[in-house]
Each structure stands twice: as structure tokens, then as C-alpha cells.
């Protein structure tokens, strides 16, 4: 496998991992919206909290994490960009 192929393999893996996290916070937890709303977080019902704030915050963190790790992957295979 060439360097480029290896890089793409790892990039794809990272993409899938990120999308799994995304699917969890955007869909999976809301499958159980009714069930988890009895629990409480910061005094808010949990499902209410997640849709009002929690999932939104999770997305912000996920994208920062995704971008940092992807940069490392690019550098590992020598595809990083020169300083801009």
C-alpha cells in the first residue's frame, strides 16, 4: 500500500469514528428522550438539557477534536501543509 493509500485509510477511519460520535449525540440519545427525561442534569430534565445545550456543546467539542487529530494524521504521512 502506498503512503497515500495508508493516509486515506486512516483518514477514513477517523471520519467514521467522528460520525459515530455525531450519531450518538444527534440521534441515539434522542431515541430514549422520553426515558431519560426523568433524570436530571444541572437541575434540568436530561433530554431537555441535551437538546437545548448538551448535544450542541458536544458537536463543538467533536469538531475541534476531529480537526486536531486529522492534522496529526496528515503530518504523520507527510501531507501536512507548510505554515500559512
Amino acid at each position: 500500500m502506498s503512503n497515500k493509500e495508508k493516509h486515506w485509510q486512516k483518514t477514513k477511519g477517523h471520519m467514521i469514528m467522528t460520525l459515530c460520535l455525531w450519531a450518538f449525540f444527534s440521534m441515539v440519545i434522542f431515541l430514549f428522550g422520553y426515558e431519560i427525561n426523568g433524570m436530571s442534569f444541572l437541575g434540568y430534565p436530561l433530554a431537555y438539557y441535551m437538546t437545548a445545550q448538551g448535544s450542541l456543546l458536544a458537536f463543538v467539542i467533536i469538531i475541534f477534536w476531529f480537526a486536531n487529530k486529522q492534522e496529526k494524521i496528515d503530518e504523520e504521512f507527510g501531507f501536512g501543509e507548510k505554515e500559512d
Binding site: 467522528t18 437541575g43 469538531i63 492534522e71
Partner: protein, 612 residues
């Protein structure tokens, strides 16, 4: 004080600007104390901010192609994030989002998740690769990746349909706000709005829009957050509302069971003469509906908005302007951070607004009071005269019940400062914020449409030999034409017929999502596949919309897929057709495959040059 170029000095320039804006707010507050009328303050707020945007637009004028289309590819990560956030948050987000949460509760908040979660798709699947490609417009990518004018034209078609659905609503919002703040008729307000929008974009294209959007973001976020924090502190709900409103949410739930949540029958509402579009509180603030259908409704709406977000050209094109691929990726994260600041505040504003209204222990509470008393409150009088709020005494007992109080959704944001008893200067600030939000989105959309028409249709299809001067003249003429068409339609007040903002997301996801994503992630995707996918996805989505929308054919929704979710029909059709047709046709040639390989690594030159 300013050494080096414009880009190096951006933090200083916008720091000064923010400081200047805060000083302006203080001056207005002093003017209010000194007896300047509310109306004058409103006019000053809107006029002052719009004048600043126009000045930025003028200073950013350009005669370079790459500056006009890509802001010279030198917009720093964080600033591009702010510009994208302003581009993204429309007049509707600013004015109607909190109102939607207020009346729609948990199931409406699927929009919050949808309109933020989509950015994960943008950053993982598209933004960095489109930046590496170096295209000017979204159809530019489709046209170059798949090759040929036919496929390019299909992409332009989807882009225009999606963006135009969206832009009339934005011009409508600028018109409404300008009309209210300046005290002119709505039709005139629309044209004032249009002129303001064009002042920001015409001379400098993407470059001018970028720098005005940053300025607009600062105004809109200040205008949104100040009332939220102020009210929260005023009623003693907590210094930092986002973390401290748990008790208030609980209190609303208690009050709901005390007052009773009653859904008025349509016949009652009509008989009482409630003006159209006004709603009463009938949905639990924090409760979650039980059952599979409630879950599916929530998740299907979130999916449509997320996938739609990742296909909207006016957002994707913002990431073409960063200096590098990695800054495009980071920029998505910053965009979402800046969006998060406003979106996470909307439910808090809805909570504060609702408790101010409902809680009999607060001086502002009106539910359970005598109707005659409520009707003599200043803000109730004012907003009733504009048919924005309404009281219908269904049971005739002269006491205001929860189900007898009607409001338009936009009032939740626009009137909350008054409801909570804040000085008028805050209402003026909110008007300026709403104007900034509507203008920035309208700018981005008008530019996306006219750039696609000028670069893809005119330059690539009609006159490939045109020189730079001619191209930029055509681009500007088209900008004016597209804006004027939007304003004309908005001034006819038929936007309610054109449907919801959500439609733009569904159109975009039906026609563009898979051709864009597969263009990067699947080398085997062919031109014929892309054309067939785009056209069939768009056709299937549109056909289903006509089939299900109450004002068209009005058939019952299949599996709960109503007119807000028709992308769930269009996008899968697009995917299946695109894959099947691609596999039936000859694989793309070696040059195209190499191009895709090249897009997948960040280093090296972009596929399309700075000037193309």
C-alpha cells in the same frame, strides 16, 4: 498603532469596533435618560449599524477576481468562523428561534440539534476537500469533478432553487425590521433592506461580505446575549443563565400543571377573532412526548436539517476563503462555537420570557390577572395594536387563563425586553441585532446565487473568453438583479406561500448532498450518475412536497414525513439513482481519478488556481 497589513491588524480593528459599538449603546442609554424618544433611538440604532456595514463594504471594494469570489483566500480561521456564524444565523434564527422553542417545546428543539449537528458533516465530509479543490462556487466543484457543462448546470439549478427559497424570507425580515425601526411602510422597508444588502456586497463581492459579516456577528451576538443575561439577573434566576435555569424550568412545569395546558380548538380560535399566526402556549416547556412516532418526528427533522446544512452552498462557500485546508477544518469548529453561543441561549431566553409572563409571584406575570388590568399594560397595548398579541376571553370570566393569551412567535424575542421591563435602549439594540442577522444571511445567499450565475453559467458556459473586467461587471449586475427579484417577491407578501425556511434545507439535501460527498469519497462516481442523481432527487423531493403540502395537494404524510421533511424522500432517491447509474456507466478517466486522489491530501497546490 497599525503596523503591517489589514489581515495582521484584524483583532485590533474588530476590537476597536466592538468597543465603539458598546460606547454607542451607552450613549443611547444616556440619550434615553435625557428624554430622547424611543422612536429616535430605534432609528439611530438601525441607521448607525447599517452605515458602518456600508462603510466596510465600500472599503473592501476590489477589481480582482479571486478577491471578489474568494476574499483572496486569506480570511483567518477565527474570523471566518464569525463570518460563517453570521451567514448562518438568519433573521429567522434571531427573531423566531426562541419563539419556536417557547411554543413548540422539545419537539421544536430538534431544529437546534439539526442546525448545529450538520457542521460535523461539513467538517468531516466536505469543507477541507472543497477548500483543497479551490473552487469559486459549489457548482464549480461539481462541474470540474464530474466534467462538463450539463452537470454544472444541474448543480446551479439546485443551488438557485434552495437559496432563492431562503433569500426571500431574509429580505422579508430585513423589510419588517427596517419598517418597524424607521417607521415606514413594509413595502418601502423591503427596498431599504435591499439597498443595505447591496451596499455591503456589490463593490467587494466575497471580500466585502466577509468583513461586514464579521461586524454583523458582533452586533447580533451582543444584541442577543445582553437581554438574556440582564433578565436572568433581574428576576434573580441566576448570574449565568445557561447553567442556572434548572429551577425556572421546573417552576414552569409546575405552573403548567397548575394553570392547565389546553389546546384550543380551531373553531374557538376563529370565533374569538384571533389574528392569523398567533399562538397560545399549549405544549409542555420541558416535557418529552412518548411513543415511537414522537421519537421519529424528532429524529427525522434533525436528520433533514443536518444533511441540509451540509449541502447549503452559501455555507460551504465560506470555507473556500481560508488560507489553507487545515484552517478550513478548524474554521468549521469556530463557526459552530460562535453559533452555539446564540443557539444555546435561545431556550434560555424562551424560559426567561415564559416565566416572566406566567409566574404570578413576579411583577411581570399576567396569567391569572384580570383581563382589564392586563390590557392596560403599556407593552400589551402597543403590541395588540400591531396585532402581535391578542387576548380571547373564552370562558368569559374576565380573568386571563393560559390558553386565552395569544402571541406571534417573533414577539418572544422582540418584546421580551419590554415584557421584562428593560429600558428601551435594549429593544433598539435587539432591532439592530435582528437587522444584522437578516442582512448577513441575505448577503451570503444573494452572493451565492449571483456567483453561480456569473461564474458557472456566464463565464463557463456562455463566454469563456470574457476578461476580468467584464466578468466582474456581469457578476455585479447579476447581484443587483437577484437581489431585486428577491425584494420584489418579498414585497408582494407571498412568502407564506413559498413555504418554510426548512424547505431550503430539503431542496439542498435532495439535490446536492450525495453528488458533493460522493464526488470526494467515491472515485467511481460518474458524470451521468451525478446528473441523474441530482435531477431525480430534486424531482422526487419536489413531487413529494407538492403531494403532501396542505396548500398544494394536501395528502396525508407517509410515515410522518411532512412538508418540512421532504428531503427524506429526495436524498435517498438521489443516492440510489446516482450509485446505480454510476455503476452502469464507464468509470471516470485516469485524470479524474488522479484529481480525486489529489483532493484527499491537504498538501500541495489546489486543483483550481487562484484565478480561473
Amino acid at each position: 498603532m497599525f503596523k503591517g497589513g489589514f489581515i495582521q491588524n484584524l483583532p485590533k480593528i474588530y476590537g476597536l469596533y466592538t468597543g465603539g459599538f458598546l460606547v454607542f449603546i451607552l450613549m443611547m442609554a444616556i440619550a434615553e435618560q435625557a428624554g430622547v424618544t424611543a422612536k429616535t433611538i430605534g432609528i439611530l440604532f438601525v441607521a448607525f449599524t447599517v452605515a458602518i456595514y456600508a462603510l466596510i463594504g465600500y472599503l473592501s471594494r476590489t477589481i480582482q477576481v479571486d478577491a471578489y469570489y474568494l476574499a483572496g483566500r486569506q480570511v483567518p480561521t477565527v474570523f471566518n468562523g464569525m463570518a460563517t456564524a453570521a451567514d448562518w444565523m438568519s433573521g429567522a434564527s434571531f427573531v423566531a428561534l426562541a419563539g419556536g422553542v417557547y411554543f413548540g417545546g422539545y419537539s421544536y428543539m430538534a431544529f437546534l440539534v439539526g442546525w448545529t449537528g450538520g457542521y460535523v458533516l461539513v467538517s468531516t465530509l466536505l469543507a477541507p476537500y472543497l477548500r483543497k479543490f479551490g473552487c469559486y462556487t459549489v457548482p464549480d466543484f461539481i462541474g470540474t469533478r464530474y466534467g462538463g457543462n450539463g452537470v454544472r448546470f444541474c448543480a446551479v439549478l439546485v443551488l438557485v432553487l434552495a437559496s432563492f427559497t431562503y433569500v426571500t424570507a431574509q429580505i422579508n425580515a430585513t423589510g419588517t425590521i427596517a419598517a418597524r425601526a424607521l417607521g415606514i411602510p413594509f413595502e418601502a422597508g423591503v427596498w431599504v433592506g435591499l439597498v443595505s444588502i447591496l451596499l455591503c456586497s456589490m463593490l467587494g463581492g466575497m471580500r466585502a461580505v466577509t468583513w461586514t459579516q464579521v461586524a454583523q456577528y458582533i452586533v447580533l451576538i451582543v444584541a442577543y446575549l445582553i437581554p438574556v443575561f440582564w433578565i436572568s439577573n433581574k428576576i434573580g434566576a441566576g448570574v449565568f443563565p445557561h447553567l442556572m435555569l434548572g429551577d425556572e424550568v421546573q417552576r414552569i412545569t409546575d405552573l403548567e400543571s397548575q394553570f392547565g395546558l389546553v389546546k384550543n380548538s380551531a373553531a374557538d380560535v376563529k370565533a374569538a377573532g384571533v389574528p392569523g399566526g398567533l399562538k397560545s402556549i399549549a405544549v409542555a416547556h420541558a416535557g418529552v412526548g412518548a411513543g415511537g412516532m414522537a421519537v421519529w418526528k424528532y429524529i427525522s427533522l434533525a436528520i433533514c436539517m443536518m444533511v441540509g446544512t451540509a449541502s447549503l452552498p452559501h455555507i460551504l462557500m465560506r470555507y473556500f476563503t481560508t488560507p489553507s485546508v487545515k484552517s478550513a477544518r478548524k474554521s468549521v469548529a469556530w463557526s459552530l462555537f460562535f453559533i452555539f453561543l446564540l443557539y444555546s441561549s435561545a431556550p434560555m431566553l424562551a424560559t426567561l420570557s415564559k416565566i416572566s409572563l406566567m409566574d404570578p409571584n413576579l411583577p411581570t406575570g399576567i396569567i391569572g390577572k384580570s383581563i382589564a388590568d392586563v390590557q392596560s399594560i403599556e407593552w400589551v397595548k402597543q403590541w395588540s395594536s400591531q396585532k402581535q398579541v391578542f387576548i380571547a376571553d373564552f370562558n368569559g370570566d374576565g380573568i386571563l387563563q393560559l390558553n386565552e393569551w395569544f402571541m406571534r412567535t417573533g414577539v418572544v424575542v422582540l418584546a421580551t425586553p419590554e415584557v421584562a421591563g428593560l429600558p428601551y435602549v435594549i429593544s433598539g439594540l435587539v432591532a439592530a441585532g435582528g437587522m444584522a442577522a437578516a442582512m448577513s444571511t441575505a448577503d451570503g445567499l444573494v452572493l451565492a446565487i449571483s456567483n453561480a450565475l456569473s461564474h458557472d453559467v456566464y463565464y463557463n458556459m456562455i463566454d469563456p473568453k470574457a476578461d476580468v473586467r467584464k466578468r466582474l461587471i456581469v457578476a455585479r449586475v447579476l447581484l443587483v438583479v437577484v437581489g431585486a427579484a428577491g425584494a420584489y417577491i418579498a414585497s408582494m407578501r407571498i412568502t407564506s406561500i413559498l413555504g418554510a425556511v426548512a424547505w431550503a434545507f430539503d431542496f439542498a439535501m435532495s439535490g446536492l448532498f450525495f453528488p458533493l460527498v460522493l464526488g470526494v469519497w467515491w472515485k467511481r462516481a460518474t458524470r451521468e450518475g451525478a446528473i441523474a442523481g441530482m435531477l431525480s432527487g430534486l424531482a422526487a423531493g419536489t413531487a413529494y412536497l407538492i403531494y403532501v403540502y396542505p396548500k398544494f395537494m394536501g395528502n396525508p404524510a407517509w410515515l410522518g414525513i411532512d412538508h418540512l421533511r421532504f428531503g427524506l424522500i429526495g436524498a435517498p432517491v438521489c443516492l440510489v439513482v446516482m450509485v446505480v447509474v454510476s455503476l452502469m456507466t464507464k468509470a471516470p478517466d485516469a485524470a479524474t481519478q488522479r484529481m480525486v486522489d489529489e483532493v484527499r491530501v491537504p498538501s500541495g497546490k489546489s486543483i483550481l488556481g487562484r484565478a480561473h
